[in-house]
Amino acid sequence: MILTQDLTNPLSFKNEETTIFNIQDYCVDDGTGIRTVVFFKGCYLQCIWCSNPESQLFEPEIFYSEIKCKRCRKCEKACTYSSIDFSNLECPIINRKKCSICESKICTQVCPENALRTVGYSISVLDLFERVKKNSLLFRNSGGGITLSGGEPLAHTDFIREFLKKTMAIGFSVGIETCGFFDWRKVADFIQKIDFFFFDLKIMDAKLHKELTGVNNEKIHMNLKKLSQIDVNKITISVPIIPRINDDLENIKKTINFCTELGIKKIRFLKYHEWGKGKYEELGRQYSLKIHSESQENGLRTFETLAREAGLQVNII
């Protein structure tokens, strides 16, 4: 039994809180007009090419910039969990496991160079609503709105449900960028209120999907089917093109076929970039994907033609 709520009933509002890691204004590729994108923290997938590695864990984390750090060791002294070790100045060690249970993140407050920063913070629905409302005129002039992204926004359903109550009351457009891996029962009562979806189809092959993202794609496909039964026109399939991972013709053909079977009309291919690489280093992690930068243009043109021939609207960004 699915519990449905009346989203328009102001009495039912609850000021939920959740963790996000960024609010970015003036976004131009995340839906119609100029959009403010809210990046939720936490994702069920761990794609090895992820350009937002800080979006994967649900808890706040620490960014450490080796370049900014002057090795003053103030953080080392301040840390209550003894998780920072500067005994080798060339290569300081931060014990991230211990950091994840630390709530104060005191090290980031004592660092004079801002070399240590907390990524991720808690925000309430009302605060987020006030924050995005600053863009009202820009939304009005450009036909834009808010896009919920992440991480996986649909891992924060209690928050989003309450947030929608606020945005719907003033007619703000809200879209969602999702990896598709979420619990349908938790979204069923509000999903039809979302204006559009960018829905990722990363790899069609089940085994490979599991291997490179950490989860099965079965649930993702099920969710897409359900979503397309609500309104296919709201869906744009998003395919990040990762060289030698999913840029083979077979995968793209399967993706396109899947779309057409469901009656989906729009697809976008996202060019690969490595701009997230630096963030891995700051999180003390390795960017395991080794890619020789080569032109993707030819492949993308082919995919574009294929999708067009299948009757899809295509966008490459």
Binding site: Q24, D25, Y26, V28, G33, I34, T36, C72, K74, V110, C111, P112, N114, K134, N135, L137, L138, N141, S142, G144, W275, S293
Partner: protein
């Protein structure tokens, strides 16, 4: 390009539309910067012969004689002719304005107290010049120019002749002996509370009445003045001065016609020996144009272009200009375009591209420190779009071609600006964004609505008049085309230094000079109070000083030619310096660096007043020691609220400072009897101003440049993105000031395609709906700029915006380049 770097290509890259323009552009790019004393030598000869003449007539005679005797230079491929000097890139050393700095260059002495904090560029044509100096018989002059041995002797003679006679010397002799705060001004220069004396290039910031000059022709204006003389009975000093003024006006206009005719003769002479029949015909056509205009109204578009150039250039030659501008070119030139059924669009485009090169050829030589401030830019601002007198859209086919010419022919001058109004056509707005996407740094966008409100509050002109003639005189200062007084300011006031004076009892910590003594502040409230005392004093003294210099200007360098071409000087029989213009409310008082003061006050409020973490004395001590061994305080200072993040805790402080500044400035009366007008811009002042300013409570370390722009955030502190930055900027009442500027830097991918363009337009519209005044964009890639720094040759034509103007990136100083690179790149 370094192979390891992968650049996101600039979306729009174009080349000049014809072989002819490519040739002219390449020639320009390969030329060194030259000093040409020919004009000033002629001026001196006339000056020698005219001792005792009425000052207006004498000024006219000297300019007229010098102009008539300039060598007419017509270069291969040129269609529009007329050159300020004999060289492609030439500057006139105006000894009549200031000769002292030129003599000091000859003596290889430091010119100003501020030279040591000035930083100049040294790439491009400047590097080329140094190379040439070694191989040919040329000397380096004032760091970046070349001069021949013979010209050098002539220049020396001029500079020595004008010693004691130049505007600067005459002014100095007056204010240094009669002004009670004279020592404050001199200390102000030494401490760099003020920019160095502006005497070597004080003119500009106005637009001639091209409409009348083109449509009536000079002959008609001469006749008007002749009639006025006949009608006037001399009964007193004032009526006599009127007659002198008209006589002077007739002399300069006739000389300008002669000067144009010299070009006609030169074209005919060249035609005689020209072997190429096509070029021969072109030269004969050019001769025909030069005989006809500017004496008579142009008969077709190409003649109108030639007429415009003569009218414009003659004014540029008369005075030592910065910010002298062509105004609403697409409005007053449009009738000629529309009525000319013979000329094709391609031909018009070629002429517009040629005009860009002509305007870029002009160089100026000022004192060393002023060149550092202006980075060699002449601030010729062509503003297009806007509305007509009834508020209907002002863009037309010619506006589109002007934008296209700037896209095709990427030169630094003229800077293009857009008067934004919602009525502008979609095509025009998109074309303007296309130009932004070339990465050249323009057009800059200005909110017409705001300026109309400003002008209503100052001059009170009728709204239809403001709409029609609103223009830009210089980088970001609006003015009324063809009806406003020029020379608008003495230089800049350094807000960072004022803050230091406030903190340290009126004593400058760098030079130990004592200014007005004030109590050492013990609290946030006291700090604000003493800051405002210093602000008011610095403004008052600066304004009083400049009024005295202007008295000397009237005696020595009053602009006669420009007076004749500014309404209503001819009708009133008054020169510009005697109040002949319709608008005399334009002189401004300028300042830069207010953002750092607001951020500093916000930090003091947070740390001393609210959180009581430190005492005022501790904060000042830490600043004195450049936060050494005080990382903790600096970190907390950096974390305090910063302007540009839509944070009322600091934004309200900024707004209060802004309002106070405007009020103080308006309390002063300018030399034409009207209140001074507040304005703020930066050009490159933020670098030397920062260099002399110790650490500030906002966490900024000593010697770091102050904030560029007026409302743009301090680099690195706008952590909330572009929208928050404009929301902060929109909090000030921009109608109070003449000018203002807000920089934004975009990565090319952000603006891709038509949708990207439309989104940028939405952003501009949104800021202007919030009553913001100005926006300008850098569309670059950080790595691209770094590469340009290391490999200037590969980026010879790369243009980048630096606070209010464009310049060739490789010719900017290292520290300015660094700032462009460091400016917070708007996140993707």
């Amino acid at each position: 390009m370094t192979e390891s770097l992968t650049f996101e290509p600039r979306e729009i890259i174009k080349q000049p539309s014809t072989e002819r323009i490519r040739h002219l552009r390449d020639q320009y790019l390969s030329e060194p910067l030259m000093i040409d004393p020919e004009y000033i030598y002629g001026y001196m000869e006339a000056h020698r012969k005219t001792d005792g003449m009425n000052v207006l007539e004498r000024r006219a005679e000297c300019h007229a004689y010098a102009l008539e005797n300039l060598t007419p230079v017509i270069r291969d491929n040129e269609l529009i002719v007329g050159s300020k000097t004999r060289f492609v890139r030439g500057a006139i050393p105006y000894c009549n304005y200031a000769s002292d700095f030129i003599l000091k260059i000859f003596e290889e002495k430091q010119q100003e107290a501020q030279d040591s904090v000035t930083d100049l560029g040294d790439g491009g044509g400047i590097a080329k010049g140094r190379e040439l100096a070694q191989s040919e018989d040329l000397d380096i002059f004032s760091h970046k120019f070349l001069i021949s041995k013979k010209d050098k002797d002539n220049l020396k003679e001029c500079a020595e002749y004008f010693k004691g006679k130049s505007m600067q010397d005459v002014g100095d002799a007056l204010w240094k002996t009669t002004f009670s705060a004279a020592d404050y001004i001199e200390k102000g220069w030494e401490a760099v509370l003020y920019t160095a004396p502006h005497d070597p290039a004080p003119e500009g910031r106005y637009v001639l009445d091209f409409e009348t000059a083109l449509n009536e022709g000079f002959q008609k204006i001469i006749e008007k003045m002749k009639k006025n003389i006949l009608k006037t009975q001399i009964t007193d000093y004032k009526s006599a001065e009127k007659v002198y003024f008209w006589k002077a006006g007739i002399r300069v206009l006739e000389a300008t016609i002669t000067w144009a005719n010299n070009y006609a003769n030169e074209a005919e002479r060249l035609a005689q020996t020209e072997m190429d029949p096509k070029r021969k015909q072109e030269l004969l056509t050019i001769a025909g144009h030069c005989k006809w205009v500017p004496e008579n109204p142009p008969r077709n578009f190409i003649e109108a272009m030639q007429a415009f150039w003569f009218i414009y250039l003659a004014g540029h030659i008369e005075g030592a200009h910065l910010g002298y501008s062509p105004g609403r070119f697409d409005r007053y030139m449009y009738p000629f375009y529309k009525e000319d059924t013979q000329i094709s669009e391609d031909e018009v485009l070629e002429l517009l591209e040629a005009l860009r090169i002509k305007m870029t050829e002009i160089e100026y030589v000022a004192s060393f420190s002023w060149e550092g401030l202006g980075s060699g830019n002449l601030f010729q601002n062509m503003i297009i779009g806007g509305t007509d007198e009834n508020g209907r859209r002002g863009d037309n086919e010619l506006s589109m071609l002007i934008l296209q010419s700037a896209i095709n022919c990427q030169t630094t001058q003229p800077t293009l600006s857009i008067w934004y109004d919602d009525s502008l056509s979609e095509e025009f707005l998109l074309k303007a964004v296309e130009c932004v996407k070339t990465g050249c740094g323009f057009p800059a966008w200005f909110n017409l609505k705001i300026y109309i409100q400003h002008e209503l509050q100052t001059s009170g002109l009728p709204v239809p008049v403001i709409r029609k003639y609103a223009a830009m005189g210089g980088c970001t200062e609006p003015t009324m085309e063809g009806m406003s007084y020029g020379i608008v300011q003495a230089g800049f006031i350094n807000h960072g230094k004022l803050l230091e004076l406030a903190m340290y009892g009126g004593k400058d910590p760098r030079t130990d000079l004592q200014f007005t003594e004030t109590k050492i502040p013990r609290s946030y409230e006291e700090l604000i109070k003493v800051y405002k005392i210093h602000l008011e004093t610095a403004i008052q003294n600066w304004q009083s000083y400049w009024n005295i210099v202007m008295a000397a200007h009237r005696q020595t360098c009053n602009l006669i030619y420009s007076s004749v071409l500014i309404r209503d000087c001819v009708e009133r029989g008054l020169s510009l310096d005697d109040g002949g213009a319709i608008c005399n409310e334009v002189p401004t008082t300028l300042s830069s660096g207010m953002v750092n003061v607001a951020n500093s006050l916000a930090a003091v409020k947070r740390l001393v007043e609210d959180q009581k973490l430190f005492t005022m004395a501790e904060v000042m001590e830490a600043c004195k020691n450049n936060f050494e061994n005080n990382d903790d305080m600096r970190r907390k200072a950096l974390d305090a609220p910063k302007w540009g993040n839509d944070d009322d805790d600091v934004d309200e402080i900024f707004v209060d400072l802004f309002d106070t500044y405007c009020e103080f400035v308006k309390n002063g009366i300018n030399y034409l009897g009207k209140p001074y007008d507040p304005s703020m811009l930066a050009i490159s002042t933020h670098t030397p101003f920062g260099k002399v300013t110790g650490a500030t409570p906002d966490g900024r370390l000593a010697e770091i440049p102050l904030c560029d722009g007026v409302t743009s955030p301090f680099p690195g502190t706008d952590v909330n993105g572009p929208v928050a930055a404009i929301l902060s900027a929109a909090k000030v009442d921009h109608t109070k000031i003449r000018g203002g500027l807000h920089n934004m830097k975009f990565h090319p991918v952000t603006l891709k395609g038509i949708l990207g363009s439309k989104k940028l337009i939405s952003l501009i519209k949104t800021y202007f709906d919030y009553l913001g005044f100005q926006l300008q964009f850098n569309v670059v890639h950080t790595e691209m700029l770094r590469d340009a720094q290391n490999n200037p040759d590969k980026y010879r034509d790369l243009i980048v915006r630096v606070a209010g103007f464009s310049a060739f990136f490789v010719e900017l100083s290292k520290s300015i380049q660094d700032q462009i690179i460091e400016r917070t790149e708007l996140e993707l």
